[in-house]
């Protein structure tokens, strides 16, 4: 053994060592999140809510629009109405599940849209820098100056009530926030050696942005965006509550919260149900994004 040249010995050792680490990044992230009990619980809750919302027509529920004057504000646990009825005698269970469809769409779609727009804006601003950065970021700052609730209400109010308009207004609210995060992580990555190495191997600015910068910043922006979903859910519910989103008789959690408000002394538990749904979904998204953040932080 001693007469072997050094490099041959190390090579032999390395050859013998099992390359267990040849697993992909996302596989590792997946494994770590599977082991995180809180995240998994939240994921299961969200999955159930999503599945029931998607499969609502096939679940054999009551008609969520059909009311009855004699069955108004039944308590939770009444036979035939497991979650009671609302102020117009409509089945709460059906309305909550059907309401999930709209609420989830209005909650998540703006974040997805803002994620796409904000990431592109932030990437361009952060990578190119200079005047373009100033132009983009200062424009963003104008929107940032308004409190998000106020801005959402103002835009919705100006555009008029409606689902599409409330999605647009929420997107406008979230774009500045995501752009800021994207810009700051991009400026952090832009001056790293591997970006220069990529330039030295002949990559153009577009390739560098698309491949090297985006690859390194996407995780951070994605985690931030997931944490915005809960905010978006609450804001969307708030818009509906104020009558700027969905219109009755459409089932939507924020709107239901508003219409049941008058019944809070008569039947507080039923009146609180839509709020509980909003709360459950928001907190699950928040905890899940927390779990995702720590699972993706492998390198430390």
């Amino acid at each position: 053994m001693s007469d072997l040249p050094l490099s041959a010995t190390t090579d032999a050792v390395l050859q013998a060592a099992p390359a267990t680490k040849a697993r992909g990044y996302w596989t590792t992230v997946g494994r770590r999140i599977l082991r995180d009990k809180v995240s998994m619980a939240c994921a299961i809750v969200l999955l159930l809510i999503f599945a029931s919302a998607v499969l609502a027509p096939w679940l054999g529920l009551e008609d969520p629009y059909k009311g009855s004057m004699i069955r108004r504000l039944r308590h939770i646990g009444t036979s035939g109405y497991p979650l009671g009825t609302d102020e117009l005698g409509r089945d709460m269970l059906a309305r909550l599940i059907y309401g999930g469809r709209l609420s989830l769409v209005i909650g998540i779609l703006p974040v997805i849209l803002a994620f796409c727009i904000g990431t592109s804006l932030g990437l361009v601003a952060g990578y190119i820098g200079g005047r373009i950065n100033t132009a983009i970021m200062r424009t963003i700052d104008v929107f940032y100056a308004f409190p998000s609730v106020l801005l959402a209400i103002a835009i919705s109010g100006a555009l008029g009530a409606g689902i599409v308009n409330s999605i647009v207004s929420l997107t406008v609210v979230f774009v500045p926030q995501i752009t800021r995060v994207a810009e700051s992580v991009t400026t952090g990555v832009r001056n790293m050696d591997f970006v220069e190495a990529a330039r030295a191997s002949g990559a153009g600015p577009f390739t560098i942005m698309r491949v090297h910068i985006l690859g390194n910043v996407l995780g951070a922006i994605f985690v931030y965006a997931t944490s915005l979903i809960s905010v978006s859910m609450i804001l969307a519910a708030g818009l509906s509550f104020l009558g700027l989103g969905t219109k009755p008789p459409e089932p939507e959690w924020g709107l239901m919260l508003n219409t049941l408000r008058t019944a809070i002394y008569v039947n507080p538990w039923v009146a609180a149900l839509p709020g509980a749904m909003i709360f459950a979904v928001s907190i699950c998204f928040n905890l899940l994004s927390d779990g995702l953040r720590s699972a993706m932080d492998i390198r430390n």
Binding site: A19, M192, A200, S201, N216
Partner: protein
């Protein structure tokens, strides 16, 4: 010997909050299949010269004058498209810190394949095949499995090998090495140097090797250019410069290593610090630290004296020396 790289009268000035005359009237050439060492302390303009050769310096804040010719093409006049195919295909670069110079979110295989796909228009599968071949070339053990490894899963030495594989993937004619062994420990350092030397012969490349470590330069270079304050103060073959340095700075640099030092004796050092380079040098930049300085050193820039065949020094005291 044909000249692959011909740099003449190169001046680089950084503007902005502070003006820095980083490189001043630099003349150097690189022959076919030659390893040229750029030797000098921090801030002497070694890395800046390398980056100018690939036009990697930020456009807005840099003023470059002079001429940089690589294989008969004027690098300073290239447009973005020409530069894109020039970088990586004609000239490639390896960096000091492989942990930072490899993209952390892509596997080694993907990064090498990306470069091959871009430059040679090959399919992704062909790129991967080349990546595997390259990992074998740089002697990464169990290359097939390492293809799907991320940079953080590799050791420092292996990362530097991967970096070399990436740089050589498109068979460049010229390799620029920016202190590639500085971040590695001594045993790995010599392995990487031997590998580079071997690959340089195998691929028939020319190499410009930047280092501040004379020991490293001795190991790998054919010719050495000693830089000080943005100028090449002395250049010649490795043998000539190590045996009979002419310029007082080169002498001081060689005297301040532990290689030839007597045990127990104090190491010889060069007193003082390098100049700030906020102004364009009007006289010998080394004069304030030079023990042999004379009044005429401060009057004007010393001439570039040919002291022998292929050998020059920028010093008023330099005269022809007999070939050793």
């Amino acid at each position: 010997m044909t000249k692959l790289v011909e740099i003449s009268g190169l001046n680089i000035r950084f503007t902005g909050e502070r003006t820095v005359y980083a490189v001043n009237d630099l003349n150097v050439s690189l022959g076919d299949g030659e390893v040229l060492g750029l030797l000098g302390e921090s801030g002497s303009g070694k890395s800046v010269t390398l980056r100018a050769l690939m036009r990697l310096l930020p456009k807005k804040r840099t003023q470059i004058t002079g001429s940089v010719n690589v294989m008969g093409r004027d690098v300073l006049a290239m447009n973005d498209e020409e530069l894109s195919s020039f970088r990586g295909q004609t000239v490639s670069m390896i960096f000091q810190e492989p942990a930072l110079a490899l993209d952390p979110v892509y596997t080694i295989g993907a990064q090498i394949a990306e470069s091959v796909v871009r430059h040679e228009g090959k399919s992704h599968a062909e790129g991967r095949a080349r990546a595997l071949e390259m990992l074998d070339v740089v002697r990464i053990p169990s290359a097939k499995r390492r293809l799907d490894a991320y940079p953080h899963e590799m050791s420092g030495g292996m990362r530097q090998r991967a970096m070399i594989a990436l740089a050589l993937a498109c068979r460049p004619k010229i390799l620029l090495a920016d202190e590639p062994t500085t971040a590695l420990d001594a045993t790995v350092q010599i392995q990487i140097l031997l590998l580079l030397r071997e690959l340089q012969r195998e691929f028939g490349m020319s190499v410009i090797f930047v280092t501040h470590d004379i020991g490293v330069a001795i190991e790998i270079c054919d010719r050495v250019a000693v830089m000080y304050a943005g100028q090449i103060v002395e250049q010649g073959t490795l043998r000539d410069i190590v045996r009979t340095p002419v310029h007082p700075y080169a002498r001081g640099l060689l005297a301040s290593t532990t290689h030839g030092a007597k045990r127990g004796a104090r190491l010889e050092t060069i007193p003082g610090t390098p100049p700030s380079l906020a102004e364009k040098p009007q006289n010998c930049s080394f004069a304030p630290r030079c023990r042999l300085a004379e009044p005429r050193c401060l009057e004007k820039l010393p001439p570039n004296v040919e002291v022998g065949p292929g050998r020059a020094a920028r010093c008023v005291l330099a005269g022809p020396v007999p070939a050793s």
